[in-house]
């Protein structure tokens, strides 16, 4: 992504987002901070908390400039400041033992392992079905429209049911979440791979026929290599969907472990920092997975001579 001259604009945009975030912290937390400061003995201009409710956060902060620095360090903020989130993440990533339930690495691994298992299952099945669709006209005509329609349906809504059904027949832990990740990554891979396996032109297919190549040979020597760019495009969609699936799959299980459970715990026990840290950790995980896939993509395509390096 970073091609020479693009770094500066990207950094600028990111910096602008951070500045907006920091500015938003002041009005968002002004009321909470004013209440807290009053309890600690500071004088706040409208004295009763009820009167303060009539003020906008920004007006309140401007009337009491003394509370502005305090809005950034409130314990249970409505909007935590960037450094608080970074602090919380640093503490729960490096400060805790990996096996501890307080460690974000532990929760991350719970989510990541379900994501990866589901992703591998979904991708494998997706590729197999795509090969079937390309070689069998009946399958193509019967299944392909459904695979395309599935892309327009919020199938993620099935997640709570799958968790409970699999739980009721005694399957718990990693597998139910992987099932969700698997079917979420399955359909994009099917659609992308069918496109990819069909991408060789008539000329190329004819050439193979003049070589008297069999169907499997055509698959291995022409269709599969030609489909690799499409495969990577679908893998990137699939891995993001798989991660979201695993996180949502963690919501209805009574919140034991994983990013989804952390978000829910932080939400229910009034610990916004826990929610925010889990959210950012999930985002970083997604970014990491995508970066790995992009790297693999670039290396594979270069190895196959599809891009000029």
């Amino acid at each position: 992504m970073a091609k020479g001259g693009n770094i500066l604009p990207v950094v600028t945009v990111v910096a602008a987002i951070l500045v907006i975030w920091c500015l938003a912290v002041i009005p968002m937390n002004a009321h909470l901070t004013a209440d807290q400061a009053q309890r600690d003995g500071m004088t706040i201009t409208p004295e009763s908390a009820a009167d303060r409710q009539d003020y906008l956060g920004l007006t309140l902060a401007l009337k009491n400039p003394a509370i502005i620095p305090l809005t950034f360090v409130h314990n249970r903020p409505r909007l935590p400041s960037p450094h608080q989130v970074a602090d919380e993440m640093f503490r729960t990533v490096f400060g805790e033992n990996i096996t501890s339930r307080r460690s974000l690495i532990y929760h991350g691994w719970v989510t990541l392992s379900a994501t990866l298992l589901g992703f591998v299952i979904g991708t494998t099945l997706g590729i197999l079905l795509a090969i079937g669709i390309v070689h069998n006209r009946t399958m193509d005509k019967s299944v392909m429209p459904w695979a395309i329609v599935s892309q327009t349906i919020p199938i993620l809504a099935l997640a709570p049911m799958i968790i409970v059904i699999l739980g009721s027949i005694g399957i718990q832990g990693l597998l139910p979440k992987s099932v969700i990740s698997a079917y979420l990554s399955f359909f994009p891979v099917v659609v992308g791979m069918v496109k990819g396996l069909r991408s060789p032109g008539a000329m190329q297919l004819d050439l193979l026929r003049t070589y008297h190549a069999s169907d499997p040979q055509g698959l291995w020597k022409l269709r599969l290599p030609a489909s690799i760019p499409y495969l990577f495009a679908s893998l990137k969609i699939g891995i993001s969907a798989a991660l979201v699936g695993a996180i949502v799959g963690e919501l209805p299980t009574g919140a034991k472990a994983g990013f989804g459970a952390r978000m829910l715990v932080g939400d229910q026990y009034g610990q916004p920092l826990v929610t925010w840290a889990a959210l950012f950790a999930a985002a970083i995980t997604a970014a990491g997975l995508l970066a790995i896939l992009s790297l693999l993509e670039r290396r594979t395509l270069r190895h196959m001579g599809m891009v000029a390096s």
Binding site: M1, G5, N6, P9, V10, V11, T12, V13, V14, I17, R78, R137, T138, D140, K141, S142, V143, M144, P145, W146, V149, Q151, T152, I153, P154, L156, A157, L158, P160, M161, I163, V164, I165, S168, I169, K236, S240, L243, V244, I247, V248, L251, P252, F259, G260, M263, L264, G266, D267, P272, T275, W276, A278, L279, A282, A283, A286, A287, L290
Partner: protein, 280 residues
């Protein structure tokens, strides 16, 4: 045993029919291309019905399609109320806000080469993140009613629409822009008469991706808190009391609405971008 046998017969029958149809000379006509997947779907539903009935599968695990249909018919007022809460108030409002914000930012960003270069990669990156995870935060800020759902949806749809719009606005060629200049067109008339039109295929690509995201956002956000109404609320509470037929009824609604929303966008796209090679 009998159940498996009947299911197998149904499968063979459906597959045989589809094989006949898909290898017949009329297989590429519109009606046959539509009938084949429908036969496939009916085959699956019939097998599902037979297997559930004959094997006595508990309704807690998998209700029979006929049970789901009965539940659906009996709870239409409830399903409609849920749909209004989640889709019309939550998803649609959020979709429109997110779309408007994305267009606004795209047009501002488009004025500067520097901003475009920054926003494109950042936006593409954000679009790939699990934004639906912000749902608990928005529920905390905006309360559990539809406003928080609309907020989650608008953030989710914002990035794909933004990235596609910014990319689309760059798509007009130098010759086209030069032509506009020879007509004496200024920035705004070039924008509205040429560049937004050229960007339409891209914009609709983003809008179509966003339809599914909007529904996902509105439904999943309700898992984190909602009034006693809404599709996500109904799904999570029905799962809790093991009323799987109700869950399936909601999923049918979600599927129909999702397809209709996407189909509606695709229809508008066809009308607007009739000139594009992909539509001819």
């Amino acid at each position: 045993m009998m159940g498996y046998l009947i299911a197998l017969v149904i499968w063979i029958g459906g597959w045989w029919l589809n094989t006949k149809l898909s290898h017949s000379p009329a297989s590429d006509t519109r009606s046959v291309s539509l009938i084949i997947p429908i036969i496939f779907g009916v085959t699956i539903v019939l097998m599902w019905e037979v297997l559930v009935r004959m094997l006595g599968v508990s309704a807690v695990i998998l209700p029979a399609p006929s049970d789901i249909a009965v539940q659906f018919a009996n709870s239409i007022p409830l399903l409609w109320a849920d749909l209004r809460q989640t889709i019309i108030k939550g998803a649609l409002t959020g979709y429109i806000i997110g779309m408007a914000a994305a267009f606004g930012v795209a047009i501002i960003a488009d004025r500067s080469e520097f901003l475009t270069k920054g926003i494109l990669p950042v936006g593409a990156f954000m679009a790939a993140l699990p934004i639906v995870g912000t749902a608990p935060i928005f529920v905390k800020w905006l309360g559990s009613d539809w406003q928080s759902k609309a907020a989650v949806v608008s953030v989710m749809v914002f990035f794909p629409i933004l990235v596609n719009t910014v990319a689309g606005l760059k798509d007009s060629t130098a010759i086209q822009r030069d032509l506009m200049r020879t007509y004496g067109a200024g920035y705004w008339s070039t924008l509205f008469k040429l560049r937004i039109m050229v960007a339409m295929p891209f914009i609709f690509n983003g809008l179509k991706i966003a339809t599914t995201l909007a529904l996902i956002g509105a439904i999943v956000a309700e898992f984190f808190g909602s009034p006693t109404l809404g599709m996500g609320f109904r799904i999570s509470t029905s799962v809790g009391r093991l009323a799987m037929d109700m869950v399936w009824a909601e999923i049918i609604v979600a599927a129909v609405v999702g397809t209709a929303f996407y189909g509606g966008m695709a229809f508008i796209e066809k009308r607007v971008t009739f000139w594009h090679p992909s539509q001819r």
